[in-house]
Amino acid sequence: MPLLEVRNLVKHFVRKQGLFSHPSVVKAVDDVSFTIDEGEMFGLVGESGSGKSTTGRCILRLIEPSSGEVLFRGENVLQYSSARMRTARRDMQIVFQDPYSSLNPRMRVGDIVEEPLLIHRLGTKNERRARVAELFDLVGLDRAFIERYPHEFSGGQRQRIGIARALALNPALVIADEAVSALDVSIQAQVVKLLLDLKARLKLTYLFIAHDLRLVEHICTRVAVMYMGKIVELGETSALFANPTHPYTKALLSAIPVLDPDAPRQRIELDPASFRRDAPLKPVASEHWAAV
């Protein structure tokens, strides 16, 4: 049984444009299905507005989906009561993109990391303090920093604080929503290494949401490409990158700047007429599907 199974997930937003015009429906997530196995690093990639972040938030019910199922260890969390969902979130945590805005600037970072334990009423004060110190060690932050405020830290350190907070409750699944996108490339490499180390040490499973295909190719076992609310291609990373099949995946890959100034460059522009938006995923090869 996969750890997480997303079935036919849909999220529609209704947008009212003017007083007398009909409201329009934005299909942010439009019939998305995928599974993540225990211990996997699953990449969900796409550009702004593709619906990748909304998908991640719907899984945790930070945004309520319009329809579909989210099975965590076989149980549909969309049917949980809000109290039950709160408990379920101990197992499913999220790390956000922007470490500058996702940490409360008025709280000491030790309190920020401790907060999930308090919310779930876990441990005595001393036990919680010990756990915070342990978490600081785990993410490579000096314990001496526990009493400091977020503004005293660099972007990479703040993201470590966000990770420590996400790990406080020993989750099984971590949703990393553009968790390293705002970081400089050298800092990004360090935080990615931390995420991989933690995965091995704590047997974590990741949903890694990103717009950076090269990064995903580098670290994910499988990857799904989203475009306008739909998964247009999904497969084992090596298979998908060796043979990108959907026109959007091809366009996206061809747009990535190449480090070698002499490498052949062939830009593939996306021709929206070259595919049907409602085409279902079909097998291209073993463990590789595309909506063509």
Binding site: A255, I256, V258
Partner: protein, 214 residues
């Protein structure tokens, strides 16, 4: 050898902190291939990273382009309006005659960056400083904007000082590159040489940190 278009010598900037933000930086930017152009008016234009904050949200984009011309006394009001449409056309904004009346919020991120570029080009500067011009854009839009900058460079004989953290963008666009670390230029040279044989540790580490780099 003709004088460079831009010659920066021993530049230092401090913001009151212990270490200077820019520390003894010197470099030159030469004119584009066909040699020096006559420098007129402003001479240098800027393109910023985030067009939404760099553009005036309550002013039509055509008026913002026209303003650049009017401020520098380059055109009459009627000429400026005409030029605004030409410039939107030059940066490949479809239906420029109609778009000229749009407000920034009516345009996508990529289109807003094209408007920024049109404003930068309004006074026909020989040098454009582009500060992370595609950093806030999606990769497919980035590719289009970089392509546009390449075309404009050839068409208008532009020299471009491109400021970026992305070595991929450097590899795609630049002839020469200077690598800055802690306020200083630690390495400078032709892009091919620096990418193939980085000599400074910082450059090496930076290149190694690019996902998928060998």
């Amino acid at each position: 050898m003709p004088a460079p278009l831009l010659d920066v010598q021993h530049l230092a900037v401090t913001f009151g902190g212990p270490a200077p933000a820019v520390d003894d930086v010197s470099f030159q930017v030469g004119a584009s291939e066909s040699g020096m152009r006559e420098v007129r008016g402003a001479g240098i234009s800027l393109i910023f990273q985030e067009p939404m904050t760099a553009l005036n949200p309550v002013m039509r984009v055509g008026d913002q382009i026209a303003e650049a011309l009017l401020v520098h006394g380059k055109a009459t009001r009627a000429e400026a309006r005409e030029r605004a449409i030409e410039l939107l056309d030059a940066v490949k904004i479809p239906d420029a005659g109609r778009r000229v009346r749009d407000y920034p919020h009516q345009l996508s991120g990529g289109m807003r960056q094209r408007v920024m570029i049109a404003i930068a080009l309004a006074c026909r500067p020989p040098l454009v400083i582009a500060d992370e011009p595609t950093t806030a854009l999606d990769v497919t839009i980035q590719a289009q904007v970089l392509e546009l900058l390449r075309e404009l460079r050839a068409r208008y004989n532009l020299a471009i000082l491109l400021i970026t953290h992305d070595f991929g963008v450097i590899a795609e666009m630049a002839d020469r590159v200077a690598v800055m670390f802690k306020g200083r230029i630690v390495e400078e040279g032709p892009v091919r040489d620096i990418l193939r044989h980085p000599t400074h540790d910082y450059t090496r580490n930076l290149l190694a940190a690019v996902p998928g780099a060998r």
